[in-house]
Symmetry: C2
Subunit: 529 residues, 2 copies
């Protein structure tokens, strides 16, 4: 029997605050380093020796996870419980990767079959494009694929395509060049289109509702350019949308792939939103491997022991840092250029899911929820904002990610070591530097230390590892949302801006009546006399 | 007579905390919107109607600026005072843009002449490359220019080149394609090199000290590739370095451009670090316009009245948010795709400059200094992390940036409005939504409001506007550093990681003795038996 209560009603949470704090400076020794590693999926490991926890705190966090029934809630979600309470919807992104619970159905049909059917449809379509049996309107084979979408229809798929581009090239698996158009700023589309051979370009329009203003504006822009180039735009654009959207029955698309209301935008890389472009760019097998990695990681998130369940452990360490230590932000620091846009995806995933002030029943919360999430790849960040991370007045928990091997093979020796060795040496050294600090006679060269971190480590980043990473953070965010007793699956906070933007557009078009503050803004900005 | 004291020793700071707080929800009305605008340079305006300040707070912030002698310190800096105390150096990035104080000299020569001489040398070199009188080692004209650098040798110049690419294309001023190699991860260089015609590529190696590990490793990688392609690498690489660096006298460069110790990495876009690539990519005039815009903005930062000095006002509002309201982070939200990497530059500029815990005399501080800075372009962010900004449990001050016109001209009408109108309507609407919020019967759809913001608005983003933006934030950060009584111009916090990384490299190469914690890390990561 599942019950819901706020974090501050939990006995374990109250106990947690009474436990002595851990000084990361003194605990990081060889024993702890050797014993604080959790196996994930796809060969990844989660390393938490530099996290600000000890056995007593971990025991208490495990009790808290039990008291808040985190695994029961996850299992309920897998079996189709309506976990997106505000919108009355199931939450089924896990099901797009494989079966783990009783398979939920909607309108009488098994939804696993629906997701798998759409995946196969995308695979067949991609193979036909690769084989040249589907071509552009002038008969030329497609060479580029461009996703038009925003938010979850952009950030996750874009981060994934960037993450796998080098892997695909190295293995001879790149089929098409992937590009993205997202911003309603027409300069975004303009630069992308200027770099393409339109005759050989296929566009994927992604909008679940079929009403996303930015995406429809960019569709119009792209269609205008295609037609101006003498092309039949309906033979250069496919749609990814819900069956009930106005786009679904529209004749202007070469093909349509379907998604449903049970997979939210920021969780949709595992659906056709990520699957169509990944299948086209790097082949259907690549997308299947991505799903397998994510599915394997979803399984490990069912592990009941806290110390053997990386997403649960990561979630509870993050909660401890946020609610007991009072730390308001978290940095994501991948030591691989391939994950250059992964922090932007996690920023959406975490901040849109858990940036909430009311619980799942709409009651205001008396504790903090989701932190600010930001990050850039290392070692670049070491020469930039790490100054503040090391010596600033706030402590910021760090999540490092690293891989032992390159994706491409162009490494060289310089000064006796390879670039990869330098990269990894920096990664490991930073964890020690942040944790232990260093004293110095010159106070300006003193490092307080005690700055906590965790690390995910793998051998080489490929689709399975990437899928496991996507799953790890989705499940971490989900567990934290359950612990905070919030709904991590809606996003009402984006609505007000949309409503006011439409009012502002009417004012800019000369509407006489209207909000005086909006009018004053338009006037101040020079858009009204 | 300039004197230095900590913020919490200031009478005005103590008064500031006693003033009533401002509720942004109620103050944002037409009058305030119409009267809260400051002229900047290059046609930019700074808009602060939605900032959490009123006349009493502004008066007190002006007193604080006077008490901390912010303008006197700025004037002293302009005239060559040793403001980088720890390293005993002058701070002269303003001088690279023009004279404002008594021109400082070093080793007997006027440094303005030195900076201007290097700028002209870069301009002449760029013109010779564009004219085809300087060519690659196989006699082909150069078409691409690739900067090899990290930190300040990468982020500012990269943000600037991205910001101006569309502007240059629209005006027929793009001379060469600009690219960047930064990360020691060899996958970074590998992907960039794979997209180039090496015979037609010119590389700029940027390292002030000539000892930056990442940059030297990437130089070796690039030279190896050039030689493997049968090219003479010394005819494809120029150096930007200090006259005293080991690179300065090295014969392996086609040309050398000099920088000195008085312009820090994160302030160096105005020096040859940004000037060589901007001159090559978009022409010497473009770089001159950038410097003019920055210089004009440097002048406005001398304005004594707080309400007419945008960088000073921005600095003091930020300080109020940080030290009185206790807000730990700031979001940079440019509503233009051209500024997609400008937040990453500002992240370095702000967090590396002001992420300090000791004052300029090395004494520990009892108050907060620099905040976490992060951001992504709008409207993209609206579909992502804005959820937390609107409805999360923390308030995060927002810095919007917008322009009335496109850089490229490919706009279209859809649903009755242009994409640019939609973009701007969203920008203005967000400011109102964040400030005023909205009540709702459903608590999940309630917006608390009271979330502060400021905005910089211009007509069209070109080099002069970009220069003004660079200057605005540099001077904002400088004024805050003076107010906090810290040294904003060193970065000792990056040293420990470098030292430990070199120890780790020795361990990974089999060194027997060494730090046991580092050894345990190497072993846990699988790099030692």
């Amino acid at each position: 029997m599942i019950s819901y209560k706020n974090l501050d009603e939990c006995r374990a949470f109250s106990n947690l605050g009474k436990l002595p704090r851990v000084d990361v400076r003194s605990v990081l020794d060889s024993d702890r380093i050797g014993s604080s590693m959790v196996d994930m999926a796809a060969g990844l490991k989660y390393f938490y020796a530099a996290a600000p926890v000890d056995e007593a705190i971990l025991d208490c966090l495990e009790s808290l996870a039990e008291e808040q029934q985190l695994l029961e809630k996850y299992r309920a979600l897998l079996s189709g419980a309506v976990m997106n309470t505000g919108e009355g919807r199931m939450v089924l992104h896990h099901l797009a990767r494989g079966r783990l619970g009783d398979s939920p159905a909607a309108s009488g049909s098994d939804l696993r079959d629906f997701y798998e059917g759409e995946r196969k449809k995308a695979a067949d379509f991609a193979q036909a494009v690769h084989a040249g049996s589907i071509r552009g309107s002038t008969g030329k084979a497609f060479q580029s694929v461009v996703q038009i979408g925003i938010g979850g229809s952009d950030l996750g798929p874009r981060a994934a395509c960037i993450a796998l581009e080098r892997w695909a090239r190295a293995g001879g698996r790149q089929k098409m060049k992937a590009a993205f158009i997202s911003n309603v700023d027409p300069d975004d589309a303009d630069l992308v289109l200027g770099s393409l051979d339109l005759e050989r370009s296929l566009f994927i329009l992604v909008s679940k509702s079929g009403t996303t203003q930015e995406t429809l504006a960019n569709e119009t822009l792209v269609r205008t350019r295609l037609e101006a180039a003498g092309l039949d735009s309906s033979r250069h654009i496919v749609a990814v949308t819900s069956k009930t959207s106005p786009l679904a029955q529209h004749p202007g698309y070469l093909a349509s792939f379907f998604i449903d209301d049970f997979i939210g935008g920021r969780y949709s890389t595992s659906s056709a939103v990520g699957g169509v472009i990944m299948s086209l760019a790097y082949g259907p097998d690549c997308f299947e491997e991505f799903l397998s990695g994510a599915h394997a990681m979803d399984k490990t998130a069912l592990e009941p022991e806290l110390r053997r369940n990386a997403p649960l452990l990561d979630a509870m360490i993050g909660l401890y840092e946020r609610n007991i230590l009072g730390l308001p932000s978290t940095a994501i620091l991948p030591y691989t250029e391939a994950l250059s846009r992964f922090p932007a995806h996690l920023q959406q995933l975490d901040m849109e899911s858990n940036g909430k002030s009311v619980n799942r029943d709409g009651k205001p919360l008396a504790y903090k929820t989701g932190p600010v999430v930001f990050g850039e790849p290392g070692t670049n960040g070491q020469h930039s904002f790490y100054q503040l991370l090391h010596q600033g007045t706030d402590s910021i928990p760090l999540q490092f990610i690293g891989f032992a091997e390159n994706q491409l093979s162009g490494d060289i020796l310089s000064m006796g070591t390879s670039s990869r060795q330098k990269l990894l040496a920096n990664l490991l050294a930073q964890i020690v530097a942040f944790a232990r600090g260093k004293d110095d006679e010159n106070p300006n060269k003193r490092f307080a230390g005690g700055r906590p971190s965790t690390m995910i480590l793998g051998s080489r980043l490929g689709p399975a590892q990437l899928g496991a990473l996507f799953s790890h953070f989705e499940n971490k965010v989900m567990f934290q949302g359950f612990a905070w007793n919030i709904n991590s699956f809606d996003q009402e906070g984006v609505q007000l801006g949309k409503v006011l933007a439409n009012k502002m557009l009417s004012i800019m078009q000369g509407e006489k009546s209207g909000d005086t503050v909006l009018k004053a803004m338009a006037k101040a900005a020079g858009f009204l006399e």
